[in-house]
Amino acid sequence: MTECYYISQNELPAVLETVSGLMDVWVPLKTGTHKTAIEFAPFTPGCRPIFDRQSTSSPKSVLFPQSETLFKFRYLKDESDPTRQTVALTDLEEIRPALVFGLRPCDARGFLVFDKVFLDGIAKDPYYAKRREKTVLATLACKTPDSACFCSSVGSGPGDRQNSDLWIIPIDDGFVIEALTEKGREVLPRFGKPAGESQIKQAEKVQKHIDGLTVGKADLTGAGSEFTRRFTDTEFWRDQVSKCLSCGMCTFNCPTCYCFNITDDAHGLEGERLRSWDSCMFNHYTREASGHNPRPEKYERFRNRVGHKFSYFPERYDGMMACCGCGRCIRNCPVSMDIRQIVRSLKENADV
């Protein structure tokens, strides 16, 4: 381990407070009256970040807000020709640098999926790109996978360092933090002091333990051909998804779901162009202007979600799954749908 810092649990709030004066700091917090949901929210003095379990919602909203104004527009009457209008556009506001502290390896992998789509394609998404460039991901090595987690099943794992800027290893009374990128190296010195030998040893032990964990039983990669073969098996899909409620809980809390809608919100001659989350689970997601809907039924929509994550995306992006195995779509689903079981069923009954 090179460039490791150590910070005790007691010192962490003060450091996060100092850093929050320089950049937006996002931490997992219990919100709401009942204090059972955990979401990434801006650090405020006195808040108590939760590191002992995964957050309910993913931190994707930091880089991909639920709703964002792409630009503002204003129609102006052309004085020389009253039948004509011109339009004036105002660009987006300056984006502040941000630190996401305490996300999990699965969450960081979610952004890897986003990067493929928003940065590496034929068109680079300027809104995402700006935020991405200015955001530091400080990822907590994951000691607490649960029964809904399956990161190892999709080619990742609880010790997966890919795509993080800082790597946080929890030890007895604090954290050993290592910089993995240049962006990470810039903020690292703010976190306590260089780690001592015994702290590094302890961290290495924890890391070794985490690297040895297999989270998720089955291998869910390479299900593309089974999916294609099953595509027209209507009975299979209807049977698998009969209990789905068609709500957007799974997709909105998913670290890899990036679908969006674009709408204009105008009053009189002024307005904004908005980009907001959309969900393939919603009936109107594919509804066309003509009124025709190519996926009118629930099973068709769910099938598309499975196909997108486990077949189409890996086919398009060198085998990478559009699923990071965080299990949020399983753990938080009102009716406990289990996407793992559906992908397994694809494979198990492949000959039917």
């Binding site: 309910t56 029964s147 399983i330 406990s336």
Partner: protein, 322 residues
């Protein structure tokens, strides 16, 4: 297999030939989570279970399941209901959305269900359990060979702590003995009273803070057995466009208010909206308040009598003053 599960299975077995599908619960991805089961083969009846983790209200599936059923066969849908679920089913019958003779209802008296989010908040690492039993004022959880007891308020769902109808009000077969209600029928609603006691400003702030977290996933709406508009909801219509896609409190607030008003005199307090909310908004409290108003104005409670008509679905021009 415990006795209750066996009786449920045998009850359905006797009438299975007349049923198109049986809606019940089975184990989900771990022993803590139960999940709705759609049983189409008699041999799968073994999967059915009933325990305090059977949280979902299955009556929400009836409308779509009946619509998808074979119209020639006119087969029945078998369904398991708890006390609260039976009220939703009754309300659907009242509104003509479900025909009474198309359902075979297995009623199960219920001592309450677990709020999995509360439980996981108490014990973050808990996923596998060997059993949960509910006693008078304690919930007993067996896990990892250990037995732990918790006060019911810490573990049971909000709706169960003030449950006035633990026994199904409508059924073809009843499983086990009726249980005693936790509170009296005219009992107060502490959560509603607490909010009512706040100043208008404070109450407004409470709801603004709560609803600000809404992610508009619409799980509350989709899990609600009485939200029958589903894909034609005002939240998503583009023409007219009632709500913008902006993630503002005004949009979220409007959605919840419209939903509340749509459910006035219809909500049966099954608590699904609150249970499914991923960000913990106490949606049910709005419905409870509305139900108090409906009770006061019309002396009516939804989902009690299949023959009665919801007050906001009747129009009597001779009545004035409302």
């Amino acid at each position: 297999m415990n006795d209750k599960n066996k009786i449920i299975k045998q009850t359905f077995q006797k009438v299975f030939d007349d049923l198109e599908v049986v809606l019940g619960w089975k184990q989900g991805f771990d022993s803590l989570h139960m999940t709705p089961a759609f049983i189409r083969k008699a041999s799968d009846l073994d999967q059915l279970v009933f325990n305090p983790q059977c949280v979902q209200n299955l009556s929400g599936y009836l409308f779509s399941t009946l619509k998808a059923a074979d119209p020639e066969k006119q087969g029945k849908i078998g369904i398991c209901v708890k006390g609260c679920d039976s009220r939703s089913l009754t309300a659907l019958i009242q509104e003509g959305l479900v025909e009474r003779d198309r359902v075979y209802i297995v009623g199960i008296p219920c001592k309450g269900v677990v709020d999995v989010k509360k439980l996981r908040n108490l014990k973050p690492s808990l996923t596998e359990i060997s059993g949960i039993t509910i006693e008078a004022d304690e919930v007993v959880i067996e896990a990892d060979g250990k037995t732990e007891r918790f006060p019911i308020a810490d573990v049971l769902a909000h709706k169960c702590l003030q449950c006035r109808y633990p026994n199904p009000l409508i059924y073809d077969a009843l499983i086990g003995e009726p249980v005693t209600a936790r509170v009296a029928q005219d009992a107060a609603r502490p959560a509603v009273e607490q909010l009512d006691a706040l100043s208008l400003e404070a109450r407004r702030n409470f709801w603004l803070t709560e609803m600000d977290r809404c992610i508009r996933c619409y799980a509350c709406r989709n899990a609600c057995p009485m939200c029958v508009c589903q894909d034609s909801c005002i939240a998503e219509t583009r023409s007219p466009k009632w709500l913008s896609q902006r993630s503002d409190i005004s949009e979220k607030f409007l959605f919840h208010m419209i939903r509340t008003v749509h459910l006035a005199g219809r909500c049966t307090e099954c608590g699904e909206c609150m249970r499914v909310c991923p960000v913990d908004i106490p949606v049910t409290l709005l419905m409870e308040k509305m139900n108090c108003i409906v009770k006061e104005l019309f002396d009516y409670e939804a989902g009690i009598d299949p023959e009665s008509k919801p007050p906001l679905q009747t129009y009597d021009s001779s009545k004035t003053g409302i």
